[in-house]
Amino acid sequence: MNIRAIFHYIGHILRIEALLFLPSIGIAVFRRETSSAYAFLIAFVVTLVAGQCLLFAKPHDRSIHAKESFVIVTLGWIALSIFGCLPFIISGYIPSFVDALFETISGFTTTGSTILTDVEALPYSLLFWRSFTHWIGGMGVLVFMLAIVPQSKGSGDSLHIMRAESPGPQVGKLVPKLRFTARILYAIYLVLTVTEVIMLCAGGMSLFDSLIHSFGSAGTGGFSNMNLSVGHYNNPYFDIVIGVFMMLFGVNFTIYYRILCGNFKDVWKDEELRLYLGIMLGSSLLISLNIMPLFDNNFATAFRHGFFQVSTIMTTTGYSSTDFNLWPEFSRMMLLGLMIVGASAGSTGGGMKVVRVLMLGKSIRGTLQRLLHPNSVKVMRMNGQRVEDGVMHSVYSFLVCYIGVAAVSMLIVSLDNFDTTTTVSAVISCLNNVGPGLNAVGPMENFSSLSALSKLVLSLDMLLGRLEIFPIIMLFSPGLWKRI
């Protein structure tokens, strides 16, 4: 294990985080928010110093391999969250460390669950920071680092970092150089975000609100600066723009790269994209029909809210245009199911990922065939490509770990003695980086009533969900720390 190289990388991450404080400092100064300006300044200095200290110890050997990558990603995210919660604590708006940590992890992991009972009381700079963490966490801090920090020459090991951080069972490059792959991804991300900001501004939203909601939907996070979330505006145009953009950010970003390359045929035939859009459209229709009586049997309004909620839940964003906790049980169950399915691999969304659901479905078909014809050979294919057995096994293990983590978390959260729906939906919502759950943690409620222990467990769930379980479990595996 190359500990020095790990510290070196984490130093880089902290230095980047310090720079990410700068926009918030600017806003605090501009809006004359004295206490938060000082808070950000202190956090900036502390983070920068910590990062520089780690960078002083120059590693003799900068090469990192698979196991170092997992440690870098996991420790990096933890460090990021701990330093990221400093402004909340120092400014005094979220005095408790556990609450501040929950809020920051919820931000970076693009979950969007909050412990704040009154969001609108927060100063602009803190609101901005909260949403900015979504935007950074959506595409990944380490991917961002790969895009800007020069790598040791010729070493291909950094791909492990990208693998560990990016969602999905198979992560590959778009272009031969990893750095340019990371840059292309961020460029697409940036362009889509800016487009959304412009479209929201054009609809009459203020620039600040547009930025907040664009960050929230781009990272599929879900922090709003309004207590009623997007429902505050009650504006069909905003619902549609944000709903569609959330859907777009839940698509695998390589799809956009292929569109840019003019490769439309592959895009149209992409199995994951088809299933993703199919599930989204199908669930929107079913839910719209189910909730029509709530909207005076007006299908258009029902569909607007149905689609918005499906889009926000399936991409694991977590906005709400109306209080879906009051919807009929069928719609609530549909939404709970969509939380688990999640968005596409390689998007900014969380959840199990559509591609894993697709693979599991295909593997059921393969098993049925093997039962019917004991000698048969079935190769699993995805988009015409063979899926190696190793990938398939990792999907099975993922499913098992996922269920295990969910079960243990539910058990711990149940100590708070909430009703079953609250407990289950709180864990599912956090583990899939969605945000709101049902009942006591519903879209109009928040997580403040939970105990500190539950908050810590849910924070861990958010990290597990964002990094797709294995990198974090790996940290506790004895094999990782053995010398040989």
Binding site: Q369, H373, N375, S376, V377, K378, V379, R381, R386
Partner: protein, 454 residues
């Protein structure tokens, strides 16, 4: 015409036999001395020992002066390299055998750059031939002439069937469409029949008819016809893969049996809709549990011809409605005698025919040039298609008056796109195309050869 063939394998040798018989100057290149010696002794050809893809060997075989170079070694890459080299040396036409489907697809793209006149893929040809047999499963074999408007089909006479005991001149009354029995295989002997010939059960007959009449012919002869919907393919060869792909495209269910695990994985990947079984296909229990008997067609395409024969017999016994066996060696064919539902495909003959057709089209020197040649009755008879030029003798005379050789028949005349299944009163005119059926061994290079000398 001077022709150089690189590769003296199954296809190369059979080509050399046929081309030298048709009167061409053939040179064969191979790097196996003993094989060359055998060819040298049995055929009237020249042989050159060496690597066909080396410049030195090609110079020695004076490829530069040849009009046609045929690369038929076992490796695609060598064949292509041979052809590029031959082209560079000044050979006018090159033909390469290319098996790998990955290359076949890019051939259209590369054909001009490589200077290739034609590529042949035995696997593709056999796959397509089997596919056509399965479209009309009641026929044993189908060959088309006149750009697909005329078919020469083989079928067997069943006991108590509509054809059993019928004299040929009464055939029209039953069939109600124009057809001509041009060749009969009775107990292993090939007969070119006259009008008085009486059909008997167990006969295999070759019939010419217009393609559009085929469906009606099947109905009128009350041949049991079934649509093929479920096919079992035994063996995981390239032919099997191409055939399965073609079948799946026509929405036919395909099950493939192979004992080679690697191939199974490949097939399962390439053909997601097929059921691929990795097993010992000679295990009778397994064949039963995979319900071979319920298959509409069973195709035996393993690498062992003997296995193919045994498997097709077994499948027929178990109740498969149709069986196709891939067999190249003529000596094995009597084993399948009298089995009306088993068709035989010979990949070797299919590949050779494709090349021969090309060679004949090149060879414009003879009056009334040959267009196509199909081996029928497993190569014991031939159907040849000719273009009638002005220098053909006896134009306009009724066929019954023509002094044709023995065991020879004019099976079909196409005039301005119209198909004439001829009787004795019909005649040939300039610009017709005619199909001649003759026993193999009668050497016919041009249309005038059909007339008896003197």
């Amino acid at each position: 015409m001077r022709i150089v063939i690189a590769g003296n394998g199954k296809v190369g040798y059979a080509l050399a036999v046929q081309l030298s018989k048709e009167g061409h100057d053939v040179t064969v290149i191979d790097n196996n001395e003993s094989i060359l010696e055998r060819s040298q002794e049995q055929l009237d050809i020249m042989t050159v020992l060496g690597n066909g893809a080396s410049l030195e060997t090609q110079r020695e075989a004076s490829v530069g002066d040849a009009e046609l170079f045929i690369a038929a070694t076992s490796a695609d890459e060598i064949n292509l390299l041979c052809c590029i080299l031959a082209r560079k040396l000044g050979c006018k036409q090159t033909v390469a055998r290319v098996r790998n489907p990955a290359y076949t697809e890019q051939m259209r793209f590369l054909k001009d750059d490589l200077g290739l006149s034609m590529t042949v893929s035995p696997d593709r040809s056999s796959a397509h031939a089997i596919f056509r047999v399965l479209q009309f499963p009641s026929f044993l074999k189908l060959d088309s002439f006149a750009r697909g408007r005329v078919e020469l089909v083989e079928l067997s006479v069943e006991e108590g069937g509509a054809l059993d005991g019928i004299a040929l001149f009464n055939l029209y009354e039953i069939a109600k469409v124009k057809l001509l029995v041009c060749c009969v295989d009775r107990d292993g002997e090939v007969i070119i029949p006259r009008g008085s010939f009486v059909l008997k059960k167990g006969d295999k007959i070759s019939v010419t008819a217009a393609t559009r009449d085929l469906a009606q012919l099947i109905r009128n002869l009350s041949i049991t016809s079934h649509r093929v919907k479920n096919v079992v393919i035994c063996g995981g060869s390239l032919t099997a893969e191409l055939l399965a792909a073609e079948l799946i495209e026509s929405r036919i269910n395909v099950k493939i049996l192979s004992h080679n695990r690697e191939r199974c994985l490949h097939l399962s990947e390439a053909l997601p809709k097929a059921i691929v079984l990795c097993c010992d296909y000679k295990d009778e229990d397994l064949l039963r549990s995979e319900s071979i008997g319920q298959a509409d067609a069973f195709i035996a395409l393993t690498d062992y011809e003997e296995d193919n024969i045994v498997l097709s017999l077994l499948a027929e016994r178990m109740g498969a409605k149709k069986a196709v066996a891939s067999v190249d060696r003529a000596a094995l064919l009597p084993l399948l005698q009298g089995k009306g539902s088993i068709s035989i495909i010979s990949p070797k003959y299919l590949a050779i025919n494709e090349i021969l057709r090309f060679v004949r089209a090149l060879d414009k020197s003879s009056g009334g040039s040959m267009l196509t040649l199909h081996s029928i009755m497993e190569g014991r008879a031939e159907a040849l298609e000719f273009h009638v030029s002005s220098d053909v003798r006896h134009l306009g005379e009724p066929l019954s008056k023509l002094p044709t050789k023995k065991d020879l028949l004019i099976a079909c005349i196409t005039r301005h796109g119209k198909i004439i299944i001829p009787n004795g009163d019909d005649f040939m005119l300039e610009d017709d195309t005619v199909v001649i059926v003759t026993k193999a061994g009668d050497v016919i290079y041009e249309l005038n050869d059909i007339f008896a000398v003197g």
